[in-house]
């Protein structure tokens, strides 16, 4: 059998294999190139030449004219020199291309493009076409800046900027895209996106907050050198802000809503989710088995029992409406059941409203008593008048009171009665004012308590600027309270100093008013003895000590004491008291007019949204450096959530995409490869049908073309030789098929997605075997001619060259064979 390899026809075969592979490769590559060229021209027709345009718009056909005018106007104003081109119209929209001069290909311009083209009629947005360009998508927004900074460090990167939810990377004109792409892959590979999914039953109150806490916890541990919480980072900043606001709003509402504490009756087991009914009409208490009415107050239990009590939320009615703290369980058919608990309510909302009302009222009164210094002055003036009158009584302060003194004092007191009364009245007013100040201080302290308890919304913008107002109000109130306290003290001092004098004088006045007459009568009756008068003077509280005290009264010192009071109230007038009253009124009017029911329902709704949105699928997303210790981080996370059910998945942080043209080119290259591969396969089939068929068919007659050199060997070596002769044709067919297809595919640059060279090698071998198996069905050899040839002593080569190949189908083999034929 080996003799066949000595045949010259083997050389013919080798030449054919090489030449057919070469020609087929050229043909296949040519077909691919033709397709490539066609597609490239088509793309160029659609998109312009490489780098020609930067922006691609789709404009509604009906607004095309207006839009084009606007485009021209924008170009003239912002981008003079830019090129505008109108493309084809498809499905009611016209494509518009804008090419920017090189000087505008800057980060500043590209960042502002959205602003420039924000109001083009009939066009919502544009697509970036600048080339060469790469895009990284899927990067969480909160770390985009970080990526942009890193990307811009890569050589050949002109600049990078945020383009919607992606990062657009504009490359230098001569940039090697593959090289830049590789660098970008390196950057992406240095980070990971860690997705932490909770078990379905796991409840995370605020996923954003949990993410922040968790990222703080992981920072610096387990090889984590960089970490950012990007939970819901897939969404926009606005969306995240909304979620944050909603979480804060929930916090505010929870602190604002009526707090309900449920004390279950001993032996009764209540669960979160149970609803309790409470009566709102004292005259008609709830009864067992009655349907729940709209006026009843319903409380939903929100927490498990802890230390004998549970927390709840009012889902119908308001805490102020509760008339009876006995709560009945709402059972089937929405009816009231047994009394199962008692309710304690505390409504910060009610308390806040009340304290605001009172504070405003009191402060207005404080504001109205700004004439306190003049009242105090009047007191002082009256005291001076009285003192001057007293000093006119000679020897008032010396010796014991005698009748003359008493008479004169009585007359004097009667004469200064008006001043004395004014003085008393003014002191009474001052005392009232002092009381009001004390009450105002109490009220302000109440308001201050609310401003300090975090009731105010931190996020301004919600409920107008209520949050900010309350915060600044709190600061104002603190100052005011201190101010009022010092004023109240001054007032108190003043009152305390005048009060004893006024009390003495009034007592005297009362005693002397009509007593003078009576004393005369007594004097006449007793014979005018002074001892009796002493007794009377003692009786009305007038003694030598008090007379001396009166004479020596330090009115100038009192007047000095009045100065700080006067100036103090003057300063009070200059404070922000009026402003604070106004602010309190604004806060009062701005407070949400919400019932507990509305708050409860809103909280439920917020919970639903936050539950679904923040942790869609109950997950957190953390952005961190690659190369962290997976084991340690997993352990920390599981420990944080105190659950082994938490699933942690490490994902690549983003994906790199080439620009549209590159993407299309890549796709078209694949198409070109597939077209080339299909051409190769077709040519391969043709090569087998036309050229290899006679050879393969002849292999079915191996006895004839390669008889055993020693027929007797067959008897001696039997099975081995038989197997060899049986296998040889299959081997040849498989080898020729495998080599041919593999080499042609390789040389032509053909490719089929997901198929490697080895796959083609195998496919070629398989095809060869199939061909060998069926060759005689489509290529009948004329064995008579073959026999004749052999009978004439022809070799295998001669038979092939002179008989079989010429008799076969026209092809490369026949073409090559022709020059070797004796009789052409």
């Amino acid at each position: 059998m080996l003799s066949i390899f000595r045949e010259k026809f083997i050389k013919d075969l080798i030449i054919w294999v090489l030449l057919s592979i070469f020609l087929s490769s050229i043909l296949a590559a040519g077909a691919g190139l033709l397709a490539d060229r066609y597609f490239t021209q088509t793309i160029a027709g659609l998109m312009g030449d490489v780098g020609e345009y930067d922006l691609f718009f789709q404009v509604r056909n009906d607004l095309k004219g207006v839009a084009l005018s606007r485009f021209k106007q924008i170009i003239q104003e912002k981008l003079p020199g830019a090129v505008l081109k109108t493309g084809i119209s498809i499905a009611g929209k016209t494509t518009v291309f804008i090419g920017l001069p090189t000087k505008y290909r800057t980060k500043r311009v590209f960042t502002n493009l959205n602003y420039y083209f924000r109001d083009v009629p009939g066009s919502s947005s544009f697509s970036l076409m600048t080339e060469p360009r790469l895009t990284i998508s899927g990067i969480p927004r909160s770390v985009m800046d970080l990526f942009i900074r890193e990307v811009e460090k890569i050589p050949d990167v002109s600049f990078a900027f945020q383009d919607g939810s992606s990062i657009a990377i504009i490359l230098d004109q001569r940039a090697e895209i593959k090289k830049v792409k590789k660098e970008l892959e390196g950057i992406l590979a240095s980070y990971r996106l860690l997705e932490v999914r909770f078990p379905s039953e796991y409840n995370v109150e605020n996923a954003i907050e949990a993410g922040k806490i968790l990222s703080s916890l992981l920072a610096g541990k387990g090889g984590v050198t960089f970490i950012r919480d990007v939970t819901s980072g897939e969404s926009s900043d606005e969306r995240q802000a909304l979620l944050m606001t909603m979480a804060e709003m929930k916090k505010f509402l929870l602190s604002y809503a009526g707090q309900v504490f449920i004390i279950p009756i001993s032996g009764i087991v209540l669960n979160p989710g149970d609803v309790l009914a409470l009566g709102s009409n004292e005259a008609q208490p709830l009864k067992k088995g009655e349907p729940v009415k709209t006026e009843d107050v319903l409380v939903k239990i929100t927490s498990a029992e802890q230390e004998g009590r549970m927390e709840g939320l009012i889902v119908q009615g308001d805490s102020s409406l509760i008339s009876d703290p006995s709560a009945r369980l709402v059972v089937e058919d929405n009816k009231t059941g047994d009394i199962v608990a008692s309710i304690i309510t505390d409504s910060p909302k009610e308390r806040l409203v009340k304290v605001l009302d009172e504070s405003i009222k009191l402060l207005e009164q404080v504001n109205s008593i700004q004439d306190l210094p003049s009242q105090a002055g009047q007191v002082l003036a009256a005291a001076e008048t009285i003192q001057a009158a007293l000093q006119s009584i000679n020897g008032l302060g010396t010796g014991t009171p005698d009748l003359q003194k008493i008479r004169r004092l009585s007359t004097l007191l009667e004469g200064t009665g008006t001043e004395l009364q004014n003085m008393a009245d003014n002191l009474a007013r001052l005392r009232w004012a002092e009381n009001q100040l004390d009450k105002a201080i109490d009220g302000l302290e109440g308001v201050q308590t609310f401003t300090q308890m975090g009731l105010a919304l931190k996020n301004s913008g919600y409920y107008g600027d209520l949050g900010e107002r309350i915060t600044s109000l709190g600061q104002g109130i603190t100052g005011l309270i201190e101010d009022l306290r010092s004023k109240a003290k001054s007032l108190d001092d003043f009152i305390n100093r005048f009060n004893p004098l006024v009390e003495v004088l009034l007592r005297w006045k009362q005693g002397t008013a009509n007593l003078a007459e009576q004393l005369n009568k007594v004097y006449r009756t007793s014979g005018g003895e002074d001892g009796s008068l002493e007794g009377i003077a003692e009786l009305i509280g007038m003694n030598a000590e008090s007379l001396k005290e009166l004479e020596e009264l330090d009115l100038s010192g009192l007047r000095q004491g009045l100065t700080p009071l006067e100036s103090g109230f003057g300063a009070l007038e200059g404070t922000n008291l009026t402003m604070i009253i106004d602010e309190l009124k604004v806060v009062q009017s701005s407070l949400p007019k919400l019932q507990d029911e509305e708050i409860g329902k809103t909280i439920t709704l917020l919970d639903n949204y936050l539950g679904g949105e923040v942790a869609s699928g109950e997950k957190l997303q953390l952005f961190l450096n690659a190369g962290y210790s997976k084991k340690e981080v997993t352990k920390l996370i599981k420990s944080f959530f105190d659950s082994d059910e938490v699933r942690i998945q490490s994902l690549p942080p983003g994906t790199i995409q080439t620009d549209v043209r590159n993407e299309l080119s890549r796709l078209l290259q694949e198409v070109r490869g597939v077209i080339a591969a299909l051409t190769v396969i077709i040519l391969g089939i043709m090569a087998f049908l036309f050229d290899q068929a006679p050879v393969l068919a002849m292999l079915h007659h191996l006895d004839l073309i390669a008889p055993l050199e020693d027929a007797s060997l067959k008897q001696r070596k039997g099975i081995g030789i038989k197997i060899c002769r049986k296998v040889f044709p299959w081997l040849y067919s498989a080898a020729i098929g495998a080599i041919w297809l593999w080499a042609t595919i390789k040389l032509s640059g053909a490719q089929i997605p997901y198929l490697s060279d080895f796959h083609f090698f195998l496919a070629g071998g398989f095809l060869g075997i199939i061909f060998y198996q069926v060759v005689e069905k489509f290529h009948q050899l004329n064995m008579d001619e073959v026999m004749a040839g052999y009978a004439m002593g022809f070799s295998f080569t001669t038979v092939m060259r002179e008989i079989l190949i010429p008799a076969g189908r026209p092809g490369l083999m026949q073409l090559l064979n022709r020059r070797k034929m004796v009789i052409k």
Binding site: A711, S712, D784, M787, A791, F796
Partner: protein, 250 residues
């Protein structure tokens, strides 16, 4: 013809051939001497064609040895086999002409392949064709010839190489009875002229009686009788011989 003292041109020893499990030739022994004409006869399927094809190894024998001119045909290389085949002319039952070649090309084909110039080859070709009466049809293609004519071209093709041995595999079996005669006439001429040694497989009893030096009767792969035509057709010893005797009488 005295064959006892000479070396046979063709010597077959214990030739055996099986097709699958069926024994087609069973240890055939045969000697053929130069100038001798042996006619092999027997019923269809008895192994006659296989025997002649085994001689030039168009069919591979399973056992036994074949000596041609003293050389063991079963133990030679492909090249030597090809050389040997040049010395053995073969006339096929189905003529086996090359369809793409005309009459002259068919006849000169081997000469040309073996290096003769076109002119020389054609000269010899025309001589061979003249001998079989086909010189007028040199330009015709096989498809344009009758069966008899094709066979005569086939004979010319074999003769042109001047073979030492000519093997005839039922040369008239595919011919219309009317055309058989023209082929048999040529064959008888060749026998008469003793130009070559011939081993003929045929059913033509008359031709066998007239032309054969010896007749070998084959049945089921075995030689059942061998002898001169007179002996076979007058005193047959085998059943087959009896049948041929009766056939000849009729």
């Amino acid at each position: 013809m005295n064959t006892e003292k000479r070396e046979p041109l063709l010597k077959i020893e214990g030739l055996g051939k099986r097709y699958h499990r069926r024994m087609v030739l069973n240890k055939i022994n045969l000697n053929l001497y130069a100038g001798e004409t042996i006619i092999i006869m027997g019923p269809s399927g008895c192994g006659k064609s296989t025997l002649v094809r085994c001689i030039n190894r168009l069919t591979e024998p399973d056992e036994g040895r074949i000596f041609f001119d003293g050389v063991d045909v079963t133990g030679i290389s492909m090249a030597k086999l090809a050389e040997m085949r040049k010395k053995i002319g073969f006339v096929f039952q189905q003529f086996n002409l090359i369809r793409r070649l005309n009459v002259l090309e068919n006849v000169t084909f081997a000469l040309r392949v073996y290096g003769l110039s076109k002119d020389e080859a054609e000269e010899k070709g025309i001589t061979a064709l003249s001998r079989v009466g086909m010189a007028e049809r040199v330009s015709s293609y096989p498809a344009e010839l009758s069966g008899g004519e094709q066979q005569r071209v086939g004979i010319a093709r074999a003769l042109v190489l001047k073979p030492r041995l000519m093997l005839w595999d039922e040369p008239t079996a595919a011919l219309d009875p009317i055309l058989v005669g023209e082929v048999l006439d040529i064959m008888e001429d060749l026998v008469r002229e003793k130009e070559t040694t011939m081993l003929v497989v045929t059913h033509e009893v008359g031709f066998a009686r007239r032309a054969a030096d010896r007749i070998i009767l084959l049945d089921h792969g075995n030689i059942v009788e061998e002898g001169t035509p007179e002996k076979i057709f007058t005193e047959p010893r085998s059943e087959i011989g009896e049948k041929y005797k009766k056939l000849l009488k009729n």
